[in-house]
């Protein structure tokens, strides 16, 4: 098992949330950019679209192993991320007998609260 380089991101900001939902046209959930809607739904403030942190984890791993080698990627959303949060991306890779690499990653908000977990597989190098 090999640890991936650890990466710190942030503090994350509202403008970044807007940039993300704009890039993928995911604008139907105003809780990510409109505080009035967020408060109406019982939240203190807007919170990050979970897929933003999810994409960070996947891209952090493809930077190590190559985007063309990805064969699967699964994300589970565990906790919300708020404006101002610092994020830590970290993971571990295990090479299997056939050369396939299995990667487990997590995005922490603050010191130790897991926001997103991610599981990926990468095809053997040169496959």
């Amino acid at each position: 098992m090999t640890a991936l380089p650890q990466r710190t991101v942030g503090p994350v900001e509202r403008t970044g949330f807007v940039r993300w939902v704009g890039a993928i046209a995911d604008v139907d959930s105003p809780v990510h950019y409109d505080r009035v809607t967020a408060r109406e739904q019982g939240y203190d403030d807007v919170f990050a679209p979970g897929m933003l942190q999810a994409a960070m984890l996947a891209d952090h791993a493809t930077a190590q192993f190559g985007a063309h080698r990805v064969r699967s990627c699964r994300w589970r959303f565990v906790d919300v991320v708020w404006p101002g949060d610092m994020l830590t991306l970290r993971g571990e890779a295990t090479e299997q007998d056939d050369g396939t690499i299995a990667v487990e990653l997590e995005c922490l908000r603050g010191a130790d609260s897991v926001a997103v977990r991610c599981w990926m597989t990468f095809a053997p190098d040169g496959a």
């Binding site: 993928i24 930077a63 985007a67 063309h68 064969r71």
Partner: protein
């Protein structure tokens, strides 16, 4: 509700564009510069989540697709899990794919923390290349808390 999995949505066209790949990668902090640097970058995994919003159908905007029959309130749902699988190398910039989506399953569980019923709805989207081969399959799972 009719039997699951549902019928497929109408097919939709998914252009895998270099500019869109770069935009998505930059919006996520450009942690992998290859998405911006390469002439024909691979589509990042999150592209296939975004493709539903950009070109297809979603829980929030189902149109007349079977996702509109899902027993869940688009204003009250949370995304629980997302997944994408590739049988070979992921599609790259310059490819044009055809997507279609169906409602895969509806499941209820009891929350361990609140004791409330949680309803999970799952949809599948398959992406085919010009030759008709499936080159990516994505799954999206949303959850709604229904109360005690």
């Amino acid at each position: 509700m009719s039997a699951l999995p549902s019928t497929w949505s109408e097919p939709f066209t998914v252009p895998v564009e270099r500019g869109k790949i770069g935009e998505i990668a930059r919006a996520a902090g450009l942690l992998d510069p290859s998405y911006e640097r390469e002439e024909r970058p691979s589509a990042p995994p999150a592209f296939f989540y975004g493709a539903a919003y950009l070109f297809g159908v979603t829980w929030e905007r189902p149109g007349d697709s079977p996702l509109g029959d899902a027993p869940i309130d688009p204003a009250a749902l949370l995304h629980a899990e997302e997944e994408v699988r590739f049988p070979g190398a992921p599609p790259r910039a310059g490819d044009t794919l055809t997507g279609r989506t169906r409602l895969e399953s509806v499941e209820e569980k009891t929350s361990r923390s609140s004791g409330h019923t949680l309803r999970f709805v799952r949809a599948t989207t398959e992406f085919r290349d010009a030759a008709g081969a499936v080159v990516a399959t994505s799954h999206t799972t949303a959850v709604q808390e229904l109360g005690a």
